[in-house]
Symmetry: C2
């Protein structure tokens, strides 16, 4: 992309469509082979266009994290949505009910009786029950019931609550412990079945372990987000090649104060400060020795060898540490289509934090 | 604020107007006492309302970092703007010319001949010259000429270039080295004056050292952004009291998976991953022992003592590490006015990265 004429201003996010579509097809094929339904997480692209592309390629539906994201996607006609979040409070529950009334399938998760009771209160008189999965913590240290026994107890409760339909089990797993996840989910499913409660879905996910994803005789569904674009975090761990990274931040060198430092116009308002443990804030394509050592809001600081200099006005392309947070920073990206043509791509669900 | 009825959904940014206005007045008074013009950086609030409040309190004008921010402020009638950025490339220069034609005073900076030549090329035939200050690096490791001699040489060049007016010197200083900054600026000004070139303005800035700001016989102007709201980074270093922090992130507890962990609905899409060296990602008001130890996009992970528990549905108020990046994450905030009344406050210049 470095040879693009400067037909757009920087900083900007540039998405290579062919690479993104190839990434979609490859992981869909993996899921098809292993018998897993794929339910892509739209948090990575926040784009109606790409959500539709994922469904066209065979995805079972989409995953959202917040109601606001799901509303944007429902407005675009996407009608099978899982919100992997505990929905709390009267205002959000009212929005959830409205959303449920206009899609074919809506499901959410719960990891406590308080959350399940709230959902039941909102859906007890709804025309259709809401599907609720039990979120299980399998080691990632975030939300979720702590043991298979707790999952069974909460599943039993959901199965009896007015307005709810028990949808199965869901986990956001730790990276690299597929066996532990399968053990937890098998034990929870067995406990539920022993009480006569079936598990329609058992959903896991995560792009870092996506190529090792398998049903293990228990998982039915896999949720992944980053796989569509990939990023430095996945390339550095070998999950993808650098050439599989579909999303690049374009930046312009605005200053070269010393022979080993260059300043670019992409700072934390585009690249974000996420994942600093990777060492630096992005991979400068074509300059493997360069390090983005610091960010202010509108400045990125590149340190480089004296022999690998940049000049003021040079354009660099950067693979960001974590693409999901970068796409959220901009109202639109540039989509690079066949033949190099650039078209504006709205980030439809940007900033939907509620 | 913890006693607010839940009249708004979370996560949300809540600005206490009285605290912000008090912060504006206090630092304006400091600048008035020391003989410094105050030129607030609007990056912190990105709000027309607060830019106007700063000017009403006595500010000489405003500082922006990007043309897009300045355009928003100019649209609102703010007519004295310094853009502290090297403006590069035909598209941005054209926007800069258009902007210059509709405000009373516009100035920018340059730290290289390439940047100055570009500005001259765009303004050589403009009806009014563009005011250009030389950006000097006084130790912060970002942009700027490296020595007072280089500042003199670039200032001489700007003074002779068609379409430009030499406006003086500007620096974004390192924290805690006021003496070094003054030495650099005095030497550069003396060199220019020895060549018959006056320095209309010598501009420094930075909220961390704001209470030590003085002219030192050379500075004419001070730029500060964070002072209007303050944040955890300033409170932790003693620049402000916790009670001077005007901007709080409101979040709801959505899960309490263990007796020492709670999950809130504010993650990196609101709190951001900025300044992790502070240890955690924000200060939970009223719970000094709590630590926000991790963020995903929509989850914040709080670790707490077993005796200081939260419940699902509880609302917490958080002072973020770095407020300038947080205000950029949301389309609007809530302004808490006299008597506790909340009104929507648009973040007018959010996301203006160009």
């Amino acid at each position: 992309m470095a040879s693009d004429p400067p037909t757009f201003e920087t900083p900007a996010l540039v998405i290579d469509e062919a690479t993104a579509l190839r990434n979609i097809a490859r992981f869909q094929a993996h899921c098809d082979r292993t018998g897993l339904k794929l339910r892509p997480h739209i948090k990575t692209h926040k784009s109606i266009r790409f959500a539709r592309a994922q469904i066209a390629a065979g995805a079972a539906g989409i995953t959202c994290q917040k109601i606001g994201e799901a509303e944007v996607m429902a407005d675009a006609g996407i009608d099978d949505i899982l919100i992997t979040y505990n929905i709390i409070g009267a205002a959000k529950l009212a929005r959830l009910r409205a959303l449920a009334g206009r899609v074919k399938a809506l499901s959410v998760v719960a990891d406590s009786a308080v959350v399940a009771d709230g959902l039941s209160g909102a859906f007890g008189v709804a025309p259709r029950p809401l599907t609720v999965l039990v979120e299980c913590e399998t080691g990632a240290g975030r939300c979720g019931v702590q043991t298979p026994q707790d999952a069974v107890a909460l599943g039993q409760k959901i199965a009896t609550l007015p307005g709810l339909r028990f949808g199965g089990l869901m986990t956001y797993p730790p990276v690299g412990d597929g066996a532990g996840v399968l053990d937890f989910m098998r034990a929870a499913r067995a406990g539920l079945e022993a009480r006569g409660i079936g598990c329609p879905e058992v959903s896991s996910g995560g792009s870092p372990d996506m190529w090792r994803a398998e049903t293990g005789g228990v998982l039915t569904e896999y949720r992944a987000g980053t796989y569509i674009f990939n990023d430095r975090s996945l390339a550095e761990r070998g999950t993808c090649a650098w050439s599989d990274c579909a999303a690049h931040v374009a930046a312009t060198v605005v200053s070269t104060p010393t022979g080993t430092r260059a300043i670019i116009d992409a700072g934390s308002k585009v690249l974000t400060s996420d994942l600093p443990d990777l060492g630096g804030f992005g991979h400068v394509i074509g300059h493997p020795g360069m390090r983005i050592t610091g960010l202010n809001e509108e400045h990125g600081i590149i340190r480089h060898d004296p022999g690998d200099r940049l000049s003021v006005g040079d354009r660099v392309m950067i693979i960001p540490n974590h693409i999901c947070v970068v796409s959220n920073m901009l109202d639109s990206a540039w989509l690079r289509r066949e033949g190099g043509k650039l078209t504006a791509l709205p980030i439809d669900a940007r900033g939907r934090v509620i």
